[in-house]
């Protein structure tokens, strides 16, 4: 299966963005019927390469060879004509068009050949059929904006698959999928593989790569590091290829005796959200909060931070009772929230690093007149301290990679000099290297007397970093462990509600 002529080859691809060389002389060949994994830290150039193959952006130099012939891919339409199709990280659906319209956008089946009348019945039937392959049954007449992100993702994949691609590019497709859909997707990938479709699969999840990958190519800082058969390489080697150094410790944690209470939540209820939640965070502690998506973890964080109003309950911060009304008020009480979706809630992407760093602490430094040199100096301190990879403090945050963006959000909260933080998925979507750095920073914060409530969906992270762990299920806290009495099986079972009495669970 792995031999044979490559269907597509790239040679010496170079792509420059302002101030960064995103791809530097990258070469690669893809054979029919293989799952070729592209791996690398955020900002390594994986997505850029994918976009070049999909015709979304054009390379500055280099060659693309399709079945032995040199070709140019200037638009997504040209890519399609060569049978190259893929799914980006960013959603490409039109929110107010319905499911079938999205799947067949720009190539709607016609009622009579050559006439512009759409055969709606066929369009809906075929859409439903394509989705059914993944076990998804939705009303194809529904606008996609009313559907969940997982279903939207599957619609995108169906949209590509109905074009009958020879080369399928999937850029981190499982990031928003649930386990069941991931399973279906992987099964289908196997089917496509047997039909000779070449699949370029971008991911940094080692477990996935092991399951479906044939060969893996690692990129680092826009450069080609190497291509290896998945079966012949260890996880450690892959990580080392990705980050360029040995990662000795994923969870650098120095646990210490906890101090006085920083946050106490008692009987907190939010409409359609958390119910009767009790929890405590002490000084010097990282407290993990786990649960399935929809268990109410983010809603709890939002309520404590004053974004959504709780219905009832009590909250005390450092012994002082407080009823959260707005983030402004809670920040004054010394609370900071690192939100789950950093691009939407955490950052002003079109502002420079400086203005993002200062966003939550501006009035701590200046009453009315702003001294921009002071902000620059302060930003440069954080850039050095947190090792934020940016050419300048004035670079717009949108040009930074995910890990560095997250560090900017961290810098923003560090500058408030808060002692109590809620970190909602602090390492989601960032690469291994940055992940370890974020972990180390969290450890340092609690060493210095802060308390952190950490929401995370990654159990190894929760187990590796937390002192205590709360498990949430359908809005309620149904489990509480010390880190040394917890393990993946116990927590995993509780997260799914296994062993919970029906009366508690409803």
């Amino acid at each position: 299966m792995l031999d044979g002529e490559p269907i597509i080859q790239v040679k010496g691809i170079v792509k420059d963005f302002p101030g960064v060389r995103a791809l530097d002389n990258v070469s690669l060949d893809i054979r029919p019927g293989e799952v070729h994994v592209l791996m690398g830290e955020n900002g390594a150039g994986k997505s850029t390469l994918a976009k070049i193959l999909m015709g979304v952006i054009t390379p500055d130099a280099g060659e693309i060879i399709y079945k032995g012939k040199s070709i140019q891919i200037r638009t997504p339409l040209e890519a399609q004509s060569y049978g190259i199709g893929g799914v980006h990280q960013e959603f490409m659906l039109v929110p107010w068009l319905n499911v079938a319209q999205n799947i067949f956008i720009n190539r709607e089946p016609k009622r009579w050949k050559g006439l512009p009348f759409i055969d709606h019945r066929r369009m809906h039937e075929e859409s439903a059929k394509a989705l059914a392959k993944f076990g998804i049954s939705v009303d194809t007449r529904q606008p996609v904006k009313y559907l969940g992100t997982a279903v939207q993702q599957m619609i995108e994949i169906c949209k590509v698959l109905t074009t009958g691609p020879k080369v399928l590019i999937l850029d981190e497709p499982t990031a928003v999928l649930t386990e069941r859909e991931v399973e279906k997707l992987f099964q289908y990938i196997k089917v496509l593989q047997s039909q000779g479709v070449a699949i370029i699969y971008i991911s940094h999840r080692l477990a996935e790569i092991r399951r479906i990958g044939d060969r893996v190519t690692v990129l680092r800082d826009g450069k080609y590091v190497g291509t290896v058969p998945v079966r012949e390489v260890t996880d450690d080697t892959l990580v080392q290829m990705m980050v360029g150094r040995n990662i000795t410790q994923m969870y650098p944690r120095h646990r210490r005796a906890s101090g006085p209470e920083l946050l106490r939540v008692k009987g907190l209820c939010v409409k359609d959200g958390p119910q009767e939640v009790d929890l405590v965070v002490h000084e010097g502690e990282i407290v993990g909060l786990v649960g399935l998506v929809g268990a109410g973890r983010t809603e709890l964080a939002r309520a404590i931070f004053g974004i959504d109003r709780p219905v009832k309950g009590e909250i005390t911060v450092k012994g002082k009772p407080v009823w959260p009304k707005s983030p402004q008020q809670m920040i004054r009480y010394g609370l900071g929230l690192l939100p789950e979706d950093r691009k939407r809630y955490g950052l002003a992407l079109n502002m420079p690093v400086t203005k993002n760093v200062i966003m939550a602490s501006l009035r701590r430094h200046f009453r009315f007149m702003i001294d921009s040199q002071k902000i620059e100096k302060l930003s440069n301190n954080y850039i050095n301290e947190l090792r934020i990879a940016t050419p300048s403090a004035y670079r717009l945050v949108r040009y930074l990679s995910g890990g560095n963006q997250q560090k900017v959000v961290l810098a923003k909260w560090l500058d408030t000099e808060s002692k109590l933080f809620i970190f909602d998925e602090p390492t989601r979507g960032i690469d291994v290297g940055a992940k370890v750095e974020v972990h180390a920073l969290m450890d340092k914060l609690v060493q210095e007397g802060a308390g952190i409530l950490m929401i995370s969906s990654e159990l190894p992270e929760v187990l590796g970093m937390s002192d205590r762990i709360y498990v949430m299920f359908r809005g309620r806290i149904i489990g509480h462990f010390r880190y040394d009495e917890a393990d993946q099986e116990k927590i995993g079972a509780l997260m799914l509600g296994i062993g919970v009495k029906e009366a508690d669970a409803s």
Partner: protein, 325 residues
Amino acid sequence: MSVRLATKAIEEFGHHKRTLLAPILRLATLLALCLILTLLSENFLTWNNIINVLRQSTMLVVIGLGLTAVVLTAGIDLSVGGVLALVGCLTAQLLRSGVPIPLAMLIGIGVGAILGYFNGILVGIIGLPPFVATYGTKWIAEGLALILMQGQIIFGLPKAFRWIGAGYIWIIPAPIIITAVLALIFHILLSKTTIGYDIYALGTNREAAFYSGINVRAVSLLVYTLSGITAAIAGLLMTARLDAAEVGMGEPFLMQGMASVVMGGTSLMGGVGSIGGTIIGALILTLVVNGLNLLGISSLVHNIVTGGVILLAVFGDSVLRKYSE
């Protein structure tokens, strides 16, 4: 190390170059326009004409100051023309019935502030789309002016009041000085203060600003109130200059004010723009009309040319923005 420093220096220069390019080009357009008019008409580069252009542009600049603040938050204020007319008419009525000048002006500005605050409540607290909310306010303001005037036009205002629109300080018209002072205040407010920072942050990402503890409601209330106040001041200047007030006096200013703001490079999506840009936008707009007059071109085609210039400016800006990315 030295390599890193060098790349950093290049990057920083690049950053400044990119951010400076647009304002420089805007200024260059303005100067080029002046140069062309100087070559085409000997009457252009005369003291009287220059002063005349500046005085004509003051109305657009003053309205543009508050509008810029609103547009920076990704909002819009369609009520400025209505507020201008209402304040002009109301102040004229008050003056005619013998209310002391400072008090009459204060009431006028106060009414502008209240209408602006009303817009702020509609947009920032209740959450109506700015376009609709301020359009409603425009009708209310114009309706109030109609009732107030009963179809009349008021002439003959006190001389001391007329000074703010038609008087001189030394050899420079008073409205130019007043406008310059207001512009300076707004420039400092927007570019050097915590309040200005909040306005830009709100316009760039409202949610992130809210999550970072910025009082987004207060910012909305503030910018619309400021816009009401500047529209009111423009109403006073206009009334004083014409020595008259009538219901329709605000009509041309809404779209011209918006055009100045947009031509000045302020993005309707919020977060990008400056007072300096708005001033240049207002000057270009005024110069085009002035030039057409000097060249003796029929006023029938003025609107077409003005429209073309606005489109060109906005087109140039969008090309530039793409390039600088």
